[in-house]
Structures are given as C-alpha cells and as structure tokens.
C-alpha cells in the first residue's frame, strides 16, 4: 500500500498540470451551466487564446535560459498588429506581403533585443522593459491613437477561419466535419503508438516504468480528451485555422527542445551557464537566438490577435506578456532556468484560457478576473514549490 502511495505521488507530480487543467475545466463546466464545453465555445476558446499559447511557447525558451523573461511581447503584439493594418488598409499592400513584412518586423525586434542582452550584456529584464515602453509608444504613434478596422477576410482567416471539409457530410441530419474527425482520430492513434513505443524503450533499458494500469489509465484518459475535443470540433465548423498553427508550433518546438542539439544547448545553458560555456556551447549565440525567436513568435501572435479582433488598436496586446509568463510558470517552468517543457507552457496557457473564457461567460467583472488569475498563478507555483520541497526529504 505504501508503495502504491509513493508511486501515485511520483506520478501525480508528473501529471499535476494536466490534472489541474481538467479539474478547472470541470469546475467551470458546472459554474457556466454547461456552456464552457459546448462545441461553439470550444472553438471560441481556441481562437480567443491562441495568442497566449503562441507567446508562451517563445517565452518558455526565454525562461529556460536562466529564468530570463521578455516583458516586451505585449507591446510587440500591438506594434505588429498596427504595422500590418497600416500596410493593408492605408498602403494597399497585398495581404501575404504584409504578413511576411510583419514577421520580419518581429525578427528585427528580436535581433534588437537579443543584441542588447547577449552581446552588450544588459539584463534581459531591463532590455525588454525598455522594449515594452518603446513599442507601446511606437504603436500609439503609428496609429495616431485610433483603431484601424475592418481587415480583409484573407487576413482574418488565420485567426478566425476554419479549414473547409473535403466532402459535404451529415450525421443524424446535422452537418458533421469529416476532416476534423479524421484528423483527431489519426492524432489519437499516433499518440497511443508513441506512448507504447516510449514505454517499450524504457523497458529495454531497464528503466522504471509506471505500473501498467496507471499507464493504461493515462492513455485512455488523454485519448478520451482528444476524441471528445475532436467530436466537438466536428459538430461545429471543423478545425480552426489557428489550431493548426498552434499544433504545428507545439510539435516543432517540442521536437527542437527535446531532440535536437540547439534544444539541448538551451537547457544546458539554463542549468549552468558557466559549465555550458566550458563545454563548448556558444552561450551568447544561444541567448541571442532565443530572443530572436521570441520576436518572431510575438509577431505571429500579433497577427493572430489582430485578425481575431478584426482591428488594430493602440492598446492591442496590453498585458499579454504577463499571461504568457504566467502560463509558463503554471506549466512547471523553473524561475532559475533549465527546467520546463513546451507542452507544460501550452497546458498552462490553456488553463489561463479556460479561466478567461469561463469567467467571461459567468459575467465575472474584468477587474475581479485579474485577481482570480493572480491567485491561480500563486497557488499553482506554490503547490509546485511545496511538493518539490517534500520530495527532497
């Protein structure tokens, strides 16, 4: 019995985030009287919160390097939104060119930050705090204090569009998106195959694996979540375009951080910069590219957010940096660097999303929403700190 408890504890820590997410989702499902998990709202939830997840992905890499953060991303989101709207609406630049220019602007901003941080040696906190002020100011100047709207459909498609189905299909007399359903099924199967092969591999090297029933339970639960999510998308309008972007980012960044040499270098740098340098890792280069990457992702988030809102506003992106940072820490990243995962940051972002969305449906006043989000951040990280301290003794 004792072994079962200690085993459960070990496993619970590993999945604490996912469990917390499910619990919060269930609570809000009740509080909103079933609106939260309705197909329409699930699509909404994804589209509304895609920006947090995109930003959290980039922010995680910053946090991995010694717990550095990027405070400028909210302002960059606003600035890039403004640039793209001005290009399209005032200068009649074709949408696709405007999108490329917007991403390039993010890239240049990233180079600017990265240069100051990595090569001049100004602390990231200061550089990005300056960035927060600089780009907010530039956004206001560029827009002259006014909003620009509406944007063309081809622009908003990225944020608010759905991928069209390949056939017209009906289930029980209702429209049913076959593409979404097939994609979800394939994803579930791939997930199961991946988990089984991972377990087999660990077995092969005689590493500890969770008992079979816990393993099976985990697979069944996560498969169920993916499939019900898939069903919800299918009976509504199919796969939101922005979901494709987010999933692609998660896959790419998980792959890069876990499986490639640059990813390993980021973790090693965060774990011990001195040792990393003496191991032949070009630490300045790592730091520089992490911030360049953040700039590009902030620009992408800017495009998605502006498209979703269908307008570029002077206050666009205000406070987003805090959502992204909170998502990373809720997702298990360490404030001293070297610890954290992309998946964790995304789940953290989703949790923030459910909170935002659930409270909005319930009609919680916006001011109180902030307070609740703050408390959730504090409790999540506090729980993590306490459980880590316990596992040491």
């Amino acid at each position: 019995m004792k072994s079962l408890r200690s085993m459960l504890r070990g496993n619970i820590r590993q999945y604490a985030m996912i469990i917390a997410f499910i619990v919060v989702a269930i609570i809000f499902e009740f509080l909103t009287k079933g609106i939260l998990l309705q197909p329409l709202n699930i699509s909404n939830l994804i589209q509304q919160n895609a920006y947090v997840m995109i930003l959290a992905t980039g922010m995680l890499l910053c946090i991995l390097t010694m717990g550095n953060i990027d405070l400028s991303v909210g302002s960059v989101v606003g600035f890039v939104g403004a640039i793209s709207a001005i290009l399209i609406l005032k200068m009649d630049v074709p949408v696709w060119i405007a999108l490329i220019i917007s991403l390039l602007v993010g890239f240049v901003i990233g180079i600017w930050h990265g240069w100051w941080i990595a090569y001049i040696g100004v602390p990231a906190f200061i550089v990005t705090l300056a960035g927060l002020l600089i780009f907010r100011g530039l956004t206001m100047t560029a827009l002259g204090g006014l909003s620009l709207a509406p944007l063309p459909d081809s622009y908003t498609f990225l944020a608010a569009g759905f991928i069209p189905d390949f056939v017209q299909f009906q289930l029980f007399g209702k429209a049913f998106n076959l593409l979404a359903f097939l994609a979800g099924t394939v994803a579930t199967i791939l997930f199961i195959i991946n988990e089984i092969s991972k377990r087999r591999n660990r077995r092969k090297y005689n590493f500890e694996v969770p008992v079979f029933w816990i393993f099976a339970l985990k697979i069944v639960l996560i498969s169920l979540v993916i499939m019900s999510f898939t069903y919800a998308l299918s009976v509504y309008r199919g796969i939101p375009m922005v979901l494709v972007i987010v999933v692609a980012l998660v896959l790419i960044y998980s792959f890069v951080t876990n499986k490639t040499i640059p990813g390993r270098h980021i973790y090693a740098f965060g774990g011990n910069p001195k040792a990393a340098r003496l191991s032949g890792i070009k630490t300045k280069k790592v730091l520089f590219w992490v911030y360049v990457n953040m700039g590009v992702l902030a620009a992408l988030a800017g495009i998605v957010f502006t498209g979703r809102l269908n307008s570029a506003t002077p206050k666009g992106g205000y406070g987003f940096e805090l959502d992204a940072i909170a998502a990373c820490f809720i997702g298990g990243a360490s404030t001293t660097g070297g610890v954290g995962t992309v998946i964790g940051a995304i789940v953290g972002g989703l949790l923030m999303g459910v909170l935002n969305n659930g409270m909005a449906i319930m009609g919680v006043p916006i001011d109180l929403q902030q307070t609740i989000k703050g408390l959730v951040l504090l409790i999540a990280v506090g729980f993590d700190v306490v459980s880590k301290a316990k596992s040491k003794v």
Partner: protein, 514 residues
C-alpha cells in the same frame, strides 16, 4: 567537569532507501581537536548536519549530549545557542559586505535597540582579528580577501558567538600549504583558549599532525577511534580503517611510453579580464609529448588555472598573445568549441559551479560536449545516448542508480568521474585536468589515477594541475613549476622532490623582490 563536552550516542539516520548512519558513536573531550575521517559518503557530513540541527530532532534516532545534557535541536539556532558552530566547505560569507559586517551578521552589536553600534562592532572585530592573526582592516570587503583569509573571517564569526565546539568541514581543501599551516596552528591555539574543534579532513597528514583523537567512519558506521599517545597513529593505519583494506600503493603503476612532442605553447601572455593592465600569465613556454603526463605545480594564485583556461579557446583572460602548436601546426582558437574541435579538453577544478549541469542526469552531462557524435541527421539519438552513458558508467565505475540519476545527487568522486567521462567521450588528444582529485577520498583518488594512466597509455597527452605535490610526484612523467604567472622550473619526475619544487618557488619569489 564532564568527561566529554559532546557525545553522540547510537545515531541512526535513514534516508529513503539508504541507511546513511548506523549506530554511530562520537565522543569528544573538551579542549581537544577531534578529527573525523572517512571516505566520501561514509556519513561524516550527515553526522555533522545532525549535530548542527540541519536535520532536526525526530528525523534520526539516538541522543546528542552536550556537557552532560541531552539536547533536542529542532533548528540550527538551537545548536548555535549551545555554542556549536559549523564552518562548511562552501563559506557562508556575503562577499559584498565588509569583514566587520560579516563577523556580526545575525548577531549585530547594538545598544539594545535596532540601531547598530558601529564603533562597538569594529572594536570587537579588531580584537578578534588579532586573536586569529589576520591583519586586515575591518572595513575591507570579504570579496577582496583570498580564500585563506575568508576562512579566518568565518572562524572569527564563530568566535563572535562564543562558540565552544567548532566544526570545520574540509577547511584546508582549497588552501595552499602556507594558509593551511596557519589555520592548523590557529586551531591548536584556540584549543589553549578552551575551544574544542571537530575537524573533517581528507588530508591525513594534517589529521595526524594536530588531532588528539581520530574517529573513523566507514559506510555509516564508526569503525575505529584512535587516541594520541595511546594508539600508534599512522596514515597507513587510518587509510586501512577508512577503506577497509590496505592500500599498499597510493599511485597505480603505468607503462611509460612517451612519444614525440605533440603540443607546444610559446610566449603565452594573458591579462586579467577585470584589470587590463594586470598581467596574469607571462611568457609561458611549455610542451607535452604523446602519452605523457605533465604536471604543473605551484601555489594557489600562481596562474595555473588561468593558463589552462586561456589555452582552452580563450575561456579566460583578455589581450591574449602567443602561439599554440599541435603536431607542428599552429592553432588559432577563438572559443571553447574551436578548442574541442581541435582535440583539446579542460576539466575544471570546480565541478559544481562550472563543470557539471547539476540538475541534469549523468548521460546528458557526459554527452554535452560531443552531441554531434550521437546525432542522426538533426536528431539526438536517445538510445545511443543511453548506451554511451551506460558504457562510461560501467567503465569508470560511477556509483549511481542509473544513468538517469541527477549529477547533483552524486558524491564528489562520482561527479568527478562524470566530468572525466564527458571529456574522454569528447576524445581529445590533449587533456588539461585541473585539481582532478580535490575533495575526493582515497579510494576514488586511486580510481582517478588509474583512469589518467589508461589515457596516457592510449597515447593521450595529459596536463595535470595539482596542489598536492605527492600526487604530482606519484603519477607525472615531468613537472613544470609555476609561480606568479611564469614557469620557473622544470623537472623530470625522477629528479624532482617536494623540497626541490618548493625551493624553486621560493627562489623565484626572491628574484622578484630583487
């Protein structure tokens, strides 16, 4: 008066899965220096952590009796109140504060209120600095002091709290011989003033020199206690008790197969990155042959680490000039990764702060410098990485639960083996080893020497920096002597002796004075 000032009775401490201490007994007489020796992992630190209240009452079994009174230490402050002070290997000083501020940190001198009385603080500090023979201004910042002096400040800090029992954990590990001698003399002097010391040390000659009693721990149990004047105390006997077997030869034998010169450094000059007028390395010339183990002897601050690091892709220093030649070809190394690519490796003296990623596991640390050799296209091959890790874990006998164990949880000797594995896996031709046996026990030292011998026999060239002269004399082929950033002497090992090396250093000091 009590017979013992401190007794620890049948102390048993269990960590999940391991019994760290098993019925350990320790009896310390007042005004004595009591040495506690044992291999790494024998339980010395655990025992001292119990004594100082780091592991509170209730997490262990057994009794602590101070001056005849059973004590219950729930917090570190409880043991402090009883006059027990522990000085750890990693000093607990605040570098940016002055000596006086550090001495009275947490014990500030006031006239009863919240306002610090600086005159009182300073005058009491001056008084105590005299006692330990430290001639420094009380307002000097601790970061401007050398390691030896910092150690003394730490002792003064304990004295300021009316300490009765002073525990010193490896106090001389990072000190040069002069500073070590001074510290040991001080302990003897404090003894006269009624202060009892418990000394944890791997340096057995120190232990035999000043200890009145010696308690030896092995695998969490007391195996022997020796009393000066009663027992015949010799280093051999201590070692035998520590490792449970007789080590007849502290240095393993090697077939010497020295080849042609393969690494040469000419007119190497380096300046300090903190002060670009201060020259750290002056016109250094040296060479290493294939299959040769070359030692660099010298005192702390002689510039040995700086020399090695500046050669290792300019990892230290500015305004670096001079030439490096490998196999006759000149090398220009811009950074560490250049150096590694050209077959040069440097294993740092400070494995915790600049050698290992302590939050990462064994295998990831081993492969960190050679990730491109375990990749398939752009992906790191996890299975190959595990294989490499297991391979080195077995070859170098790294004691751990698996290659997935975090390096932060390993003992010093095993951490050192992980660092060695990392550099051996990087397959260098020239390997700089900076204090490779610092702070590790006799058994692990022997294993490290064996690894060095194996590497030399395989035709690798080793440059070994060490402050322990017997060790250099025991395993090197040739020894250079460094002082004040210069090479001041060179001996073949059969012509060298500790006296000659020291003479060489003293001679060069005199020349500077002239």
């Amino acid at each position: 008066m009590e017979k013992y000032i401190l007794e620890m009775h049948n102390i048993t401490k269990t960590f999940p899965g391991v019994k760290a201490l098993d019925n350990v007994n320790l009896q310390v007489k007042p005004k004595h220096i009591h040495a506690l020796v044992g291999e790494n992992g024998a339980g010395k630190s655990t025992l001292m952590n119990i004594l100082s209240g780091v592991y509170p009452y209730g997490t262990y079994e057994g009794d602590i009796i101070v001056e005849g009174e059973v004590c219950i230490f729930k917090y570190i402050n409880d043991s402090k109140a009883k006059g027990i002070a522990i000085i750890h290997q990693e000093l607990a000083l605040i570098p940016s504060l002055s000596i006086a501020e550090n001495v009275f940190l947490g014990n500030e001198q006031s006239d009863g209120g919240l306002i610090i009385n600086w005159n009182k603080t300073r005058s009491r500090t001056i008084e105590m600095l005299k006692k330990v023979g430290l001639d420094e201004n009380t307002d000097t910042l601790v970061k401007d002091l050398g390691l030896g002096k910092q150690q003394l400040v730490e002792i003064v800090k304990a004295l300021a709290k009316d300490v009765k029992i002073l525990i010193l954990d490896e106090p001389t590990a990072a000190l040069n011989d002069d500073d070590s001698d001074h510290l040991l003399d001080l302990l003897v002097e404090l003894k006269e003033h009624g202060i009892t010391s418990i000394l944890i040390s791997h340096k057995l000659h120190e232990v035999t020199k000043i200890a009145d009693e010696i308690t030896i721990l092995r695998d969490g149990a007391t195996v022997d206690t020796m009393v000066k004047g009663v027992d015949v105390i010799s280093e051999e006997r201590i070692i035998k008790a520590m490792v449970g077997r007789e080590i007849t030869d502290r240095f393993p034998k090697r077939k010497h197969k020295v080849g042609e010169v393969c690494f040469e450094v000419e007119n190497w000059n380096v300046f300090s990155p903190l002060d670009n007028t201060k020259q750290i390395i002056r016109d250094v010339n040296f060479n290493v042959r294939r299959g040769e183990v070359v030692g660099i002897a010298g005192l702390m601050g002689a510039g040995r680490t700086e020399l090695a690091m500046s050669l290792f892709g300019k990892a230290y220093g500015i305004k670096i000039s001079g030439t490096i030649r490998k196999d006759g070809k000149e090398l220009v190394l811009h950074d560490v990764s250049d150096a590694i690519k050209n077959g040069i490796a440097y294993a740092t003296e400070d494995r915790k702060t600049s050698g290992l990623i302590l939050i990462d596991d064994i295998k990831r640390n081993i492969t960190l410098s050679s990730l491109s050799s375990i990749k398939k296209k752009i992906v790191i091959d996890d299975n190959l990485e595990i294989k490499v890790g297991e391979d080195y874990r077995a070859k170098l006998n790294i004691k751990s639960s698996s290659v997935l164990q975090k390096t932060g949880n390993l003992s010093g000797g095993n951490q050192q083996k992980v660092m060695f594995s990392k550099w051996i896996f990087a397959d260098p031709d020239i390997l700089f080893l900076d204090e490779p046996t610092r702070g590790i026990d006799v058994g692990a030292k022997y294993e490290i020497y064996t690894i060095i011998n194996d590497l030399a026999e395989k035709g690798k060239s080793i440059v070994m920096i060490s402050s322990e002269m017997p060790e250099l004399l025991g395993i090197c082929d040739r020894i250079y002597i460094m002082n004040r950033g210069m090479i001041v002497g060179e001996f073949m090992v059969n012509e060298a002796s500790q006296e000659k090396i020291m003479q060489c250093i003293m001679q060069s000091n005199k020349e500077v004075v002239k």
